[in-house]
Symmetry: C2
DNA sequence: CATCTTACTTGCATTTTGCAAGTAATATAT
DNA sequence: ATATATTACTTGCAAAATGCAAGTAAGATG
């Protein structure tokens, strides 16, 4: 897998070099909120990612230590992906994207309900969620 | 300009459909933090965007009401771009990307200094910055 | 032991990106 | 007044990334 060359020292630019494409944050979203962790689960997500794109994105995210692949102890044919701490720490970014979206687009009701909780105590929500994610 | 088709109702996905590429957030960063507002200023940014890519991204951001183009009253050959409220409201996302970057990469000292202020009172910093941006 | 599932890989067409050069409408200098 | 420069792009083309369909290999299931 060819690495994206670092374009500058800007923190936004460095971040985008890693996950600044149309698919990476959706994969991270699935691992974070849906607990989808197997390759086939990720393939089934609403947006319909192509299998070769999924494979290359997973590899890039793994190389950048955002996710890690583990073997399923029950079955040798199954593996699963999970977020590293570096990946879990993207949660505040995903939350802010949700809040921005809510302001400017119609969004699903179930997500709206969760965002009401977020807005009551953003820092508290994030800390709790990060802790839960770290305990998996 | 061909529109990115909406892939799903997910707020993350809808957001990425608009600004989820390697360049859009860098343009928004420049308009937000450097007050670079002319076409040639944006072209000169550290990452070296190609002129045709800049033109298509600006058009897409304008169509999506993230930025708007105005004429310079002093000069007919000069125009400038500025963020709309919708664009200004991306600030919390950019701030969280900065904070994530700071945790995982070496980042420039001047930005670190600003992030110290951000961490003292995140909500306060964001409110003040949004207000200032809206008054331009 | 045959079929199914999982996790991919490969090949190829289409789309997007990147680079270089070109252009048209002002603006500035001589 | 004319020549040069600047601004804000557009165009053409090569290279890279994406998307789609089909294939594959190892392990699980009936």
């Amino acid at each position: 897998m060819k690495k994206m060359k670092k374009r500058s020292d800007c923190p936004i630019s460095c971040s985008l070099d890693i996950w600044g494409d149309k698919w990476s944050l959706l994969i991270i979203r699935d691992l974070m909120f849906s607990k989808k962790c197997r390759y086939t689960d990720l393939l089934k997500s609403a947006e319909g990612i192509a299998t070769n794109i999924l494979a290359t994105r997973l590899q890039a995210l793994e190389e950048n230590k955002i996710i890690e692949k583990s073997d399923d102890p029950e079955s040798k044919s199954k593996g699963y992906y999970k977020l590293t701490q570096k990946g879990i720490d993207l949660l505040p970014i995903l939350i802010e994207i949700h809040l921005w979206s809510e302001k400017y687009f119609p969004i699903p009701e179930d997500i709206k309900t969760i965002l009401i909780e977020v807005k009551k105590d953003k820092a508290g929500f994030i800390n709790k969620a990060i802790e839960e994610l770290a305990n998996d």
